[in-house]
Structure formats: C-alpha cells, structure tokens
C-alpha cells in the first residue's frame, strides 16, 4: 500500500473507530500490526491516544529532558582540562583549528583556562566542577557523556537539531515522535508537555512542533503556575455546573445530528469534549503544590509563584507530570550563552539549576520512578577552549560556540549509573574517544523507550523521514545498564 495513503488511512481508521468501538481511553493498535503486509519499513505507529507496544522491551516509560538552552560550558562544569590553564593566553595551534567556523571569534583567539576547580566525587570518582555541589551528591546515579558533538554552531539551528534532528524548523520533535510512536499513557493530560524558564529560547516553537506528523502530537506548553494549559479554565462567571450542562446539551444536539448523518467524526467530537472536561477537572490538582511536603519543596528550592525559582518549580512539576504518566516532559532553561564572563555566568546559572537537578534525581529515585524515567541534561553544543573578547560587543573572558565537543548527562531509565563516557583531547577541542553524535543521543533515548530509531519512520513528500536523519547512527549501548 502506498505509504502516504497508509499514514492517512491509519490515522483515519484509528481515529474514527477508536472512540466509537472502544470507548474513550481504550483501544489498542499494536505497533507490530502497523507493519502492514509483510515488512513495510514504516513503523506506522499508533494514532490512537493509548499506548502501543514498542519495538522491544523498554527500559524507560518516559523522559524528562532538562534542556540547557544557550549551551553551558563543559569546560567549567564537566570536562576538566588543566592544559588550558597552562596554555592560557596563547593561540591554539593552527593544526587544531584549521577549517573550523565560529560564530563570533576568529579561530586564532587565545586559550582560556578553566575558571573553576574540579574534584572527584562519589564512589565512581567522576570529576566535576565545584560549582555543582548538589549534583556532586548524586554523581553515582549519573551517566556522563563527554564526547557529544553536533553539526551546527548557531543556537537556533543547533537547538532545533537537538530537538528535531534537523537544523531548519518544520520537522517533528522528539516528543512528537514518541507521542506518535507510543501513544498517550496519561488519560487526562497531553502526552508531550513543554515547560520553560530563564531567558528567550532561540529554537522557538519549532522545537516542540509535530512537523509533518498529525498535529495532535505537538508539545503542549504548560505554564509553571496558574492555568497550566491554554483555556483550561472556564471563562469568568461560568462555573463547573454550567460547563457540565453545556457539554451535556452539546452531546444531545450532536447526537441528534449523528442520527441523521453517519459520519463517525461527530462521535469523536463528543469524546474530545468529554476529554477536555476531564482535563479541566484534573489540572488544578496537578498544579496544587500544597500536596507536597515542606521537605520536598525545600529540597528542590521550589517556591510556588516565585519566578526566581521557575526552574526548580518546573523540575517539581516535571516529577508530578511523570507520576501522572506524561510521556515526554521537556524542561527548557535558557541563560547559558556565556560569550562574556563565563565564570560569572556559570555561577549564576548553576545557582538557579544545580539544586533542583539533584533533587529531581533523588526524588524520582525515592519514589521508585527513576528506574523507568530517563532524565537527560544537556545544551545544544559546547563552548570553545578559546577566549571570546570583542571591543565592539563589549565582551571579555567569555567562550564562543563549540560544536566539536560537549558534555551531556543522563540518569535512570536503564542507563548505567556512575559512568563517564568518551574523551576529548587535552584542550577539550575535539573528541578523541567514543564520539557521540546528536543523532546517536536521539537514537539512544528512543532505544531506552523501546523504539528502534531506524523503524520509527513517517512517509512525507516522497521520503521516509526519521528523527535521526539519513546517515548511519546508533544507540550508544555502552551507556545502558
């Protein structure tokens, strides 16, 4: 069967027959059965709102992705390079920098030494910066990858690349792929939720777009306080009784119409309104942090309603969403773009984020959620070993964008804890051991959720698209427990 058509048919069938035949919230369309007649390459995944079995046994059921937008300096946090101190003020040898492109600096800029002290932490003895006192506590739970690299050296494209596998907006994001591939586990909440704190996000809404996938798979931005979802509250003056009466009357009227015309779309509409009502009922409970103990709030540094604690609040909300079965929780925190005064910048950002990151890991673990929740931390690229300084821009002691090497960490969801993986050269410039490309990162995340990234594909405009692009990429199985 033609794949485009297959996309449509599956979508139509599952959408139409799902509600009528199975009632709301039930209905299984096995991923395997989507592999239509004899090995079509397309894992045309479920378009229903219910979970579909993955390709193989998953290690994680959900993802909390702490996206550090702006690109934190690995050289100040995770990838200690004493050699840089030694060479400080001298240019990097031309053999290293030949052919590299930079956003702001000239490639012959001088080396800048690490701005902070590092020490070995935990049983694993993994060396991280003294700016991360809280994370140091949970270092044995984490899996560090110091050999990440990417293709793009500007924020917007690189953020899009990390989120959608492509540097130009318009492709489905990882969360949308997972929603498409695995369906919804949370009855009354969206599958894919987006939280944001810090400054502006370069990649924009393209980062949680459904792209060419059915639009229902797009990420739903939640606000950290008040109404989490757009229009989740009734307009003023309309209480729950009126809303209920309205929905009941609507159902009666729509049912009358359904008797005249056989279009099953009417039943779907009735069900969608019911689901909306349930989401309305559920949202206040979700946002009610008073259910949390003072100790929990304190461990995160969460302060409901306080914008300065937005990241901590979002981490706590992320855990609450995880508990309620939300599949993909994307937490963005911007403010890591330290072109000038990288030391001050890192201090400021770690103050805002270090405690909550560590608390999230501990909290998930304590609740038994860490084993099937994959936590991911990372930016869109790294920072240069060279200093950035510019009179015109008033910059000094900063670091420019560096796609050649950066560090990410993972926790839970079947990852091997207490591991530091991959290595950069003594300048932290190039990866010299076990390189992990962005597409490998994405393949690994999908793998943890039981999805073969090669088989999660969607036919669009003549091509079989997948999150991880056309080149060969692999999940990094060495990282898995």
């Amino acid at each position: 069967m033609n794949p485009d058509l297959q996309n449509q048919l599956l979508h139509a069938q599952t959408r139409r027959h799902f509600f009528r035949d199975c009632g709301v919230g039930v209905g299984k369309i096995a991923l395997a059965s989507m592999l239509a007649n004899g090995g079509v390459p397309l894992a045309q995944a479920s378009s229903s709102d219910t979970p579909a079995p993955p390709h193989f046994s998953p290690r994680a059921k959900r993802v909390i992705y702490l996206f550090m937008a702006g690109a934190p300096s690995q050289l100040e946090l995770f990838d200690y390079k004493p050699k840089l101190k030694e060479l400080e003020g001298k240019p990097i040898p031309p053999s290293v920098i030949a052919g590299q492109r930079y956003a702001f600096i000239q490639p012959d800029a001088a080396v800048l030494g690490p701005q902070f002290e590092f020490a070995k932490r935990g049983q694993s003895g993994i060396e991280i910066s003294d700016q991360l006192p809280h994370l140091s506590r949970v270092v044995d739970e984490l899996t560090f990858v110091r050999s990440c690299h990417t293709d793009l050296f500007n924020h917007s494209p690189a953020q899009l690349f990390m989120n959608t596998g492509n540097g130009v907006p318009g492709r489905p994001s990882m969360g949308a792929w997972l929603s498409y591939g695995l369906g919804n586990e949370a009855n009354d909440l969206p599958t894919f939720v987006v939280l944001k704190s810090g400054g502006s996000l370069s990649g924009g809404s393209g980062m949680w777009s459904a792209g060419f996938l059915p639009s229902k798979h797009q990420g739903v931005p939640f606000r950290g306080e008040g109404d989490p979802i757009l229009h989740i509250s009734n307009p003023a003056g309309i209480d729950r009784n009126i809303q209920r009466d309205t929905l009941d009357t609507l159902e009666r009227l729509n049912s009358l119409q359904a008797e005249r015309t056989g279009d099953p779309e009417i039943d779907t509409r009735i069900s969608a309104y019911e689901m909306a009502f349930r989401m309305q009922s559920r949202a206040p409970e979700l946002m009610d942090f008073s259910q949390e103990t003072a100790a929990t709030l304190q461990s995160y540094g969460a302060k409901p309603g306080n914008g300065k604690a937005a990241f901590a609040n979002n981490c706590l909300l992320a855990r609450r969403l995880a508990e309620r079965g939300v599949r993909f929780i994307q937490v963005y925190h911007s403010g890591w773009d330290h072109h000038s005064n990288v030391a001050g910048g890192i201090k400021g950002q770690t103050r805002q984020t270090d405690q909550a990151c560590a608390a999230l890991i501990e909290d998930l673990k304590q609740r038994g959620l860490l084993e099937d929740t994959l936590v991911v931390w990372g930016g869109e690229f790294g920072r240069t070993p060279m200093v950035e300084a510019s009179a015109a821009l008033g910059r000094s002691q900063g670091r420019d964008h560096h796609p050649q090497a950066f560090t990410m960490w993972f926790a839970g969801g079947g990852m091997k804890p207490g591991l530091a993986y991959g290595q950069t050269d003594e300048l932290g410039f190039h990866v010299v051991e076990k390189p992990v490309h962005v597409h490998d990162v994405q393949a690994t995340i999908l793998h943890c959720l039981g999805i073969d990234h090669e088989r999660l594909v969607y036919k669009h405009q003549g091509l079989n698209f997948k999150l991880t692009g056309v080149e060969e990429h692999h999940p990094v199985t060495d990282l898995l427990a």
Partner: protein, 1015 residues
C-alpha cells in the same frame, strides 16, 4: 552518473517511453482487470522495494543493476521477457538462500508472496514497461457511458457515475438547499451564508437559482480571500523571519497581490510566471515585482554569528522543494543528498534545477503609496514654508545699532560665517579606482564616482581598491570616505546589513593604505557621525586604523543618510605611484558597505568632518561669487539654520522631517546582472560545506528540456506552464478537488511520482486537467465546473454503513463532510456574531489571544492586540509569527509558514474543545452575537432560530429547539441570583441573567459539531 547532455539522456529514457502510446489506456487496462498494469501494479512494487539499490540513484546502485529501465534490466539478465524461469530477478526473489534472496533479509522492505507472484506473472506476460502515468501529458478522455444518463450534470459526473456503477453503487441524493448554499458559501468564500442569503435562495424558483448563487459567490471579493489563504499555505507565507529572533518582515503586499490576482481570476499560467519570474518580464510592473515575493517567503536566520551564505543555501533548498511540490507535484527535494531513490531525478538534476532559481538577488522593493506621497508632500510644503521664513525671522531678531541697517548686519554676519567656512572647507577630489577586487561582492562605479556593491556578502568582506593619483601635483594629505544612501539597499543603505543588526547598517573595521607594498599609516580620523549597533563599543573614526578588527566605524541609527569619514596620512603620500586601499568589514554579521565614494586631498589644513554633505562643502570651497542663485540660497539656509537665534525653527524643521512616513516595502527577487551570475554547484550529500562541480541550469532530464540557450527563472516558468510539463494542470486541478471534496483524486497531492498513489479517477483527473488548460487556466471556471456537478451536489447525510464502507469517500458516492479550517472557524464565528469586518488588504492585524502565547517566543515580545475594526478582520489578515503562531489557528491545524503545506491535517482534539469553549476571543463573539440577535428579534424561539441559522445555516428542528430552549431557561434560572456571574459573563455592570443566558446559548451553539463542519 555523469551529467549527460540532455539529448543523450532523453534518448536513454526513450527505452522507457518506447512502449508508451498514452498513459491513460494503460490505466484503463488496469481498471478493467485485463492484465497486470506496469504503472499501477508493478512499478509501485519495484519502486518501493527494489529501486533503492537498483534504481535511478547511481551512487547507491548495487551490482550495477538498475530495474527502472527495461533495456538495462533485460541486458543484465535480471528480466528475460516472457521467461520468468530464466530471469535472475525471479530466481533471486524466490530464493530460500538468505545470501541470495532479494531484497536481502536485513532490508526492512520484504516482498510479499502476492507481490512475488505478480512480478513473475508480469515477466511471463512480456515485462512491458510504460512511462509513469503522471510523466506523460494528459489527453482528454472520452466521456464514459453511464446507465443512469439522467444523473450527470456535466462531464465530471460521467466519470464518477461510471465508476460507481461498476462498483454496483448509486450516487447519494442531491443535498437540500440549505446544505447546498452553506457548502457553496464555505467553499467559494470561506464564510457561511447569512440567513437572508439563504432565504433568497430557498425562495428562488428560477431554474438557474443554483448557478446564480455560484456566480454571485465567484464574483465576491471574499472569494479571493478564501482561495488566497490556500495558496499562502503553499507559499509558506508568514510575517516574520523565522528562526531565533523571528523579527517582523514586510511582505504583506505579496499576500495582497495573491488576493487580487485570484479575485481578478488571473490565468494560472500568468499567476505562475509572475510569481516565479515577474522581474524578468519586459518592463515589469510593480505588481509583477511584488509577485516574486513567493520565493522570498523562505525563512531568514538573523541569529548573530551565522554564516549568511549557509542559510541562503537552506532557503534555496526550500525553494527547489517548494517549486517541485507546487508546480510539478514532484518530490524533487528528495534528490538533495543523492539521486532520487524512486523517480528518475539525479543528484545533478536537482542542482541543475536549483541553478534555474539561484541567480537572483533578494532586495526590498519600495512601493508607491498615495497616502504616503500625500503626507510627505504635505510635510515638505510645511518645511519649505518654514525655510522660506528663515531670513525674515532671523532679521527680526537683529537689533541694529544706529548706523547700520538690518540688512547690513545680516550681510556682515553671513559673510563672516561664510569666510570662516570657506577657510575650513577642504578641496576634495573624487577619484574612481582603477582596479577593484573583493572576496565576493561585486563593485561597480556609478556616474558620480561612487562605488555600488551587489552580489553576496559575508561576515568578513575585504574591498581592495587601487587609485591612480597622478593627476595631483602635490602629496596627498588625506582621504575622505563618503557613505551614501541608495534606494536599492536595505533601508536605503549605506550598508548592506540585512539581518541581526539594523538593516542598511555597515561596520568598517579597518582601512589600510599601501603604496609600493609599503603601508602608509594614518594618524588622525574624523567622522561626521558615528554609532555602532549591538554591543557597547565606540564608533570613533580612529577605530579603523587601530589594527583591531573588532572595533570600527558605523553610522547605525541614521540609515538612508550620507556621512563621511576623513583619514589623515601620517606622512603625505606621493601622487606618483598608485595607492592601494584595503577596506575590511568584519563582524559577527555581514555588514559591508553598499554605496560609498572615495576622495583625496592635498590640503594641509586639519581634516575635520563637516556637518553637511560633500556637495555643500564643494560649494563652500568655491568662491561665493561663482554661486548660482539656488546654491547661494542653499548656503544661506545652512548659515541661518546654525544660528542660535533660529534654534526653535531648526527643531521644528527637524521634527517635521522625522514625521516623514516611509513608503511600504516588500521582499522581491531581482535577477543578477549578466556580468555577475551566481554559480551553482552540486553539493556532495547535499551539504552546504561540500560544493563539487559547477552545474548548468536546466529541467530534470526526465522531461523535455527548456529550449533556450540560457535558462532562467522566466524560462522555468514558461516551461512549467507549457505542455512540456505533463504535471502542472493535473497537480493544480487535484489541489482544487482536495479543497472542495476533502481529498484529492490523487491522495498524495505533493507526490505524483512513481511512489504516489494512483488517482481514484484517473480519467476524470486528466479530463479536468485538459479542461482547466483549455479554459485558459481560469480558476473561477474550474471551480464553477466542479461545484455545478451532480457529484458535488450530493448529500453527505448518508447512513453510517456508507461512511464505514468508504471512510475517505474514494468512490464519491456522497457529498463532502469535514471540519472547516482554523481560519474559517474564526471567520464563521465573526460573521455569525455580526463583528466581521470586510476591510481588505494591508499589514497583518492582531486579534486577541492570551499573552502567554507570544511570551514563549524569543525576546519576550508583546502581542499588540488590535482594537476597533482590525480586531475583527478576516483571519487571513492575522499577523503570522512563525515561532508563536496564533494559538487558535495552530490548535485547529493551521500552518506555521515554515514549510510548504499542501494538505493540512484535520484533527479533532480536546484542546480544540477548550479553545472554542473557553478562549476569550470566542466569548467576545458569543457576547456580540447574543446582543446582535436579541436586538433584532425577541421571542426566545426566534432568537434561538436566528443564532442557529447564522451558525449552522439550516433552521433548528423541533427536537433541537426544545433542547436549546431548555438549556437557555436553565442558565437563566441558574444565573438569576448570581449577579457576579452575570457581570462576568456579560462583561457589563448593568446586565441581567437573560442577557447572560443568551451569551451562554450563543456559546453553546458555536460549539456544535455542525457549526464547524462543512456538510
């Protein structure tokens, strides 16, 4: 594959085309089940499961075998016609040996048993190849015979009915008049009919009542608005640049052009040519230039530090894919990284196609605007009046002593000032360079001796200019750089910055002079003005000779003005040898100069920049007695305006100048000059950083070639609309069908290639394609033809079994029924509430939406919610911000303008329910509708009926009426003792529960499935 000469490749393809008589007969053969059709049954299997390794892509081809060309497959022995036993392909696909079996066991795409049998059967029947149906020109098919000859109203119905009768089915009954006028109004104008329009139609007894409605709607200006929106989906239209900053851009004149063109029923071939190549038409009109905005709708990355050429390349990639999709229904974009896996489009073909589109510059076009002209003339007249009064005013401020007249004092002061200025004036000589070199941009010398830069610019531009100074008799003491405005530059220049910084800005990092390879240093600099954009740096003149590329001079904030920079040589330079001047522009964004002029002087006075331009300085440098009357007046005005006595006047004049409105601009394409074409290369793996050999422009070799020696965008447009392009009319007709019926006759509207789904009604598609072309590419006639068919007029009220049997209405045994688009939902509600403004055209507007929507976008921008009429404009005028699209539209599957959208999703989700129920914007409309309707009728059933008809068109049935009435009464009772709720619902202090209950009732009806459905 090497780039074959077009003729050679065509000859090669003739093998494939050889067995072809016409595509249609082969499809017919398949229809009647006579034998296996290559096009319908065999090619899809081969394309899907074999071509990836044995197809058109020479790069990935295995074992040197290709199965997409019969001759090659036969020669190889893979296929032995009429002898499957000896065909190695058959042996391999049936093999049990995993080392031999094809496709190999690791391939995802395995053959089914049925497919294997089909391939065997096909080979035994002679292994006939045929050209893919869509690659052969459509030929008008005969109208098929039908049994129920009363049913057809026009040709369309013959094809539809013949197919139904073959399947043993009959068409549905004609829909009732309510349904018909609703369907027509929504389809042709994007708005539901008003109850008055409905009544008129219901009561129209004339035989052509239906046609009259059709013609009225086709003539309505709303028609262009409705169909323009669909075209804008394809054009990926938006009002911002996309990517990180996503700043606003001015390209709404393009949107307005589309609306006008469609309302004027511009023939589709002309519509095509003007958008792709309006600038290349002879003496193009402004409108034809505006039309080229189609391909300016690509995104622009304004992030600091990007490589502008890289993102220009991505825009080109988008243009190629979009052109292929929109005008050919071809997935040409697939060949960006390697030759197409399924369709015969090579990697080189892809870049040849790109070359057709790649030779344009991308300027802003200033547009005429009567209002602006009038306003400017008005202001100019006021300025002139003030200036004429300057002398008088000044003289009035003079109190002469007894022995002097006012005139004498005036003359004395003026002469003193003039003498002083003449003393200071420097005698500059403009010198044109004898040689000019740059890293990439092209410099040309204009008549006034200035240099103008065109072509591409980079983050590090270097201009190297050589001057012959032999006309000077004395050593050169300094040079003057004038930076000059020009209408062709962004924001009128003088710089060429077009992203990240201010438009029209420049940043001059360093100026280096050399004579006989020895550097001639500067020791002083002076500038008439200096400011840099972005960052805290200074803009001192001396920055350009401090050996630091990160400091420099710029005139940011004063775009569209001329300014000057003077540099003094440490040691005067001999005029006897040529002088080389290097100008370096180096920043984190591309910012070299667009227009500038170099002068030299031998003057030994200190070189100070003047607050006036070079022409005035030249005047002052000459003797006052030589001045013309006009020049003298100019000099006098200059004197007057700098006097402390006239400071107030000066400020007034300045204020008036600042009020001068700018003309609107729009983004256009402009073909590059003949002597500076842009090269196009093939890029290895399609990657920007991997350019390979240069390619010449041309159409994919699969098709008959453009017959001109120098193919351009115009040649491409002419080719696309010629009969040599077998796809255009089919693709366009199919999209119109899709809009009206919900699905195209080809269900893969962006792909008519070998991987596409064959049309449900191939002959109907071809018949319509020929009709469309022969009716002069008239969209209105095509729409009229379709909507007057019996097929279109069928009811969609059919039993559930019929929906189940054919969920996507492939056989067209019923009328269309589906949810209306995001914009049409809002327009419908505005229309029903009486709020809808019919104001057309102009910049985007900002209907209300929650602040949190744009708060997610970069830069925490505000959404400047429109007030008054603009709040209620038709939805296609809503400002489209790519990174924060209007929430009520995205929720209902509206596009974001990032890529060409051929088919929108039609989802049905809880978030849509929340939007219609709870969005303040819709509550506002419910209030307006309640107030409007209760203002004209009073009895509750009448109010309900009027609301119902405004939204759903038909009157409510008795059962519906009772249900709604009961709801209304319950709300009224519920709210009776809750004044706070009443106040909140109505938004008014002095309101009652009746008013509130009507608002809730309007809200209820706005949420009906039928209110947002075309049926």
């Amino acid at each position: 594959m090497k780039e074959l000469k077009p003729n050679a490749r065509v000859a090669a393809l003739l093998v494939l085309w050889g067995s072809l008589s016409a595509a249609a007969p082969s499809v017919r053969a398949a229809e009647t089940g006579e034998s296996l059709s290559f096009a319908r049954e065999i090619q899809p299997i081969l394309a899907r499961k074999c071509y990836a390794c044995h197809g058109p892509d020479e790069g990935d081809r295995q074992a040197d075998l290709r199965l997409d060309e019969r001759e090659a497959a036969v020669e190889y022995g893979a296929i032995v016609p009429e002898d499957s036993e000896n065909s190695s392909m058959i042996e391999r696909i049936f093999s049990d040996d995993p080392d031999l079996r094809m496709p190999p066991p690791h391939a995802h795409d395995q053959l089914t048993e049925e497919e294997k049998q089909k391939l065997r059967q096909w080979i035994d029947a002679g292994a006939k190849y045929e050209a893919h149906w869509a690659f052969t020109p459509p030929i008008r098919p005969e109208l098929p015979k039908v049994e129920n000859s009363d049913w057809p109203r026009n040709g369309i119905d013959h094809f539809v009915l013949a197919r139904l009768e073959k399947a043993g089915l009959s068409p549905a009954a004609e829909a009732d008049r309510y349904t018909l006028i609703r369907r027509l109004s929504l389809d042709l104008t994007g708005l539901p009919p008003s109850p008055e329009e409905v009544d008129q139609f219901i009561n129209d007894q004339s035989p052509d009542a239906y046609e009259n409605v059709v013609d009225r709607l086709l003539a309505s200006p709303r028609y262009g608005e409705k169909w323009a929106r669909l075209w804008l989906d394809l054009a990926r239209y938006a009002d911002t640049n996309g990517y990180e900053k996503d700043r606003a851009r001015e390209i709404w004149p393009y949107r307005d052009w589309v609306i006008r063109a469609i309302n004027d029923d511009m023939p589709f071939d002309q519509f095509t040519t003007e958008q792709l190549a309006g600038d290349l038409l002879p003496d193009p009109t402004i409108d034809q230039l505006v039309a080229t905005g189609f391909h300016r709708n690509t995104m622009l990355n304004e992030e600091g530090g990007i490589d502008p050429l890289e993102y220009r390349y991505y825009a080109m990639v988008d243009r190629v894919a979009t052109t292929g999709t929109v005008w050919m229904g071809m997935t040409i974009g697939c060949a960006q990284c390697h030759s197409h896996k399924y369709d015969p489009i090579s990697h080189t073909d892809y870049f040849r196609f790109m070359a057709l589109l790649n030779n344009a510059d991308e300027p802003d076009q200033i547009l005429p605007d009567e209002t602006v002209t009038k306003k400017r003339a008005e202001l100019q007249a006021r300025i002139e009046k003030l200036q004429q009064g300057l002398t008088e005013q000044y003289q009035a401020s003079i109190s002469p002593s007894d022995n002097e007249t006012v005139e004498e004092v005036y003359h004395e002061r003026f002469t003193a000032w003039l003498n002083d200025q003449q003393q200071k004036a420097i005698d500059w000589t403009v010198v044109e360079p004898t040689a000019m070199q740059t890293n990439l941009p092209r410099l040309e010398v204009l008549e006034d001796g200035s240099l103008f830069s065109t072509g591409d610019i980079t983050k590090r531009d270097l201009f190297e200019l050589t001057f012959d100074l032999s006309s000077f008799n004395e050593p050169i003491t300094g040079l003057r750089l004038e930076v000059l405005p020009d209408d062709r530059l962004p924001a009128r220049g003088p710089g060429r910055a077009f992203y990240e910084g201010r438009k029209g800005d420049f940043f001059l990092s360093e100026v280096t002079a050399k004579q006989n390879d020895e550097q001639q240093t500067f020791n002083a600099g002076s500038a008439s003005y200096g400011k840099i954009s972005i960052g805290s740096g200074t803009a001192e003149a001396a920055n350009v000779f401090d050996n630091n590329g990160s400091t420099g001079w710029s005139t940011s904030g004063r775009e569209g003005e001329s300014h000057q920079l003077l540099l003094t040589f440490t040691e005067p330079v001999s005029p006897d040898a040529p002088l080389n001047l290097e100008m370096l522009f180096e920043r984190h964004f591309a910012a070299s100069l667009g227009r500038f002029r170099i002068s030299f002087t031998t003057d030994r006075k200190p070189l100070e920049a003047k607050p006036y331009n070079a022409e005035t300085e030249a005047l002052l440098a000459s003797s006052i007695d030589d001045l013309t009357e006009a020049d003298r007046e100019r000099v006098e005005r200059l004197f007057l305006l700098q006097t402390p006595e006239l400071e107030k006047m000066r400020k007034q004049i300045e204020q008036l100048r600042n009020q001068m409105p700018d003309y609107p601009t729009t983004m256009v394409l402009r073909e590059r000059p003949e002597d500076n074409p842009r090269e196009t290369h093939r890029h290895h793996r399609g990657e920007f950083l991997n350019p390979e050999e240069e390619v010449s422009a041309g159409i994919p070799l699969l098709f008959p070639q453009i017959e001109t020696s120098e193919p351009s965008r115009l040649a491409l447009a002419n080719w696309l609309t010629s009969e040599q392009n077998p796809l255009l009319s089919r693709v366009v007709v199919n999209r119109q069908w899709q809009t009206l019926f919900g699905y195209g006759l080809v269900r893969t509207p962006s792909d008519f290639g070998t991987q596409s789904e064959p049309p449900t009604h191939p002959e109907l598609l071809d018949w319509l394609a020929v009709e469309f072309r022969e009716r002069g590419w008239s969209r209105k006639q095509l729409h009229r033809l379709i909507v007057t068919s019996a097929t279109y007029r069928q009811t969609s009220d059919v039993p559930a079994e019929q929906y189940q049997r054919d969920p996507d209405n492939r056989l067209l045994a019923r009328g269309p029924r589906f949810r209306i688009s995001a914009e049409t939902i809002r327009d419908t509600m505005l229309h029903a509430s009486g709020l809808l403004s019919d104001k057309m055209f102009g910049p985007g507007v900002y209907p209300p939406q929650p602040e949190s929507v744009v708060a997610l976008a970069y830069g925490n921008e505000k959404w400047p919610t429109s007030t008054g009429e603009d709040r209620y404009r038709r939805s296609l005028y809503t400002f489209i911000k790519r990174t924060a699209p209007f929430a009520a539209f995205t929720t209902f599957d509206g596009p974001t303008g990032e890529t060409c959208t051929v088919q929108r999703d039609r989802s049905n989700t809880p978030l849509q329910a929340l939007t219609l129920l709870n969005d303040e914007m819709y509550l506002e409309m419910a209030r307006a509708m309640a107030s409007d309707v209760t203002g004209s009728v009073s009895s509750p059933p009448d109010v309900i009926q009027e609301m119902f008809r405004r939204l759903v068109t038909r009157p409510a049935t008795e059962a519906e009426m009772q249900t709604i009435l009961a709801y209304y009464e319950r709300q009224q009772a519920h709210l009776k003792y809750d004044p706070a709720a009443v106040k909140a619902v109505t938004g008014k202090d002095d309101s009652d529960s009746t008013a509130a209950a009507w608002i809730l009732t309007a809200r209820l009806l706005m949420n009906l499935d039928e209110a947002i459905t075309k049926f």
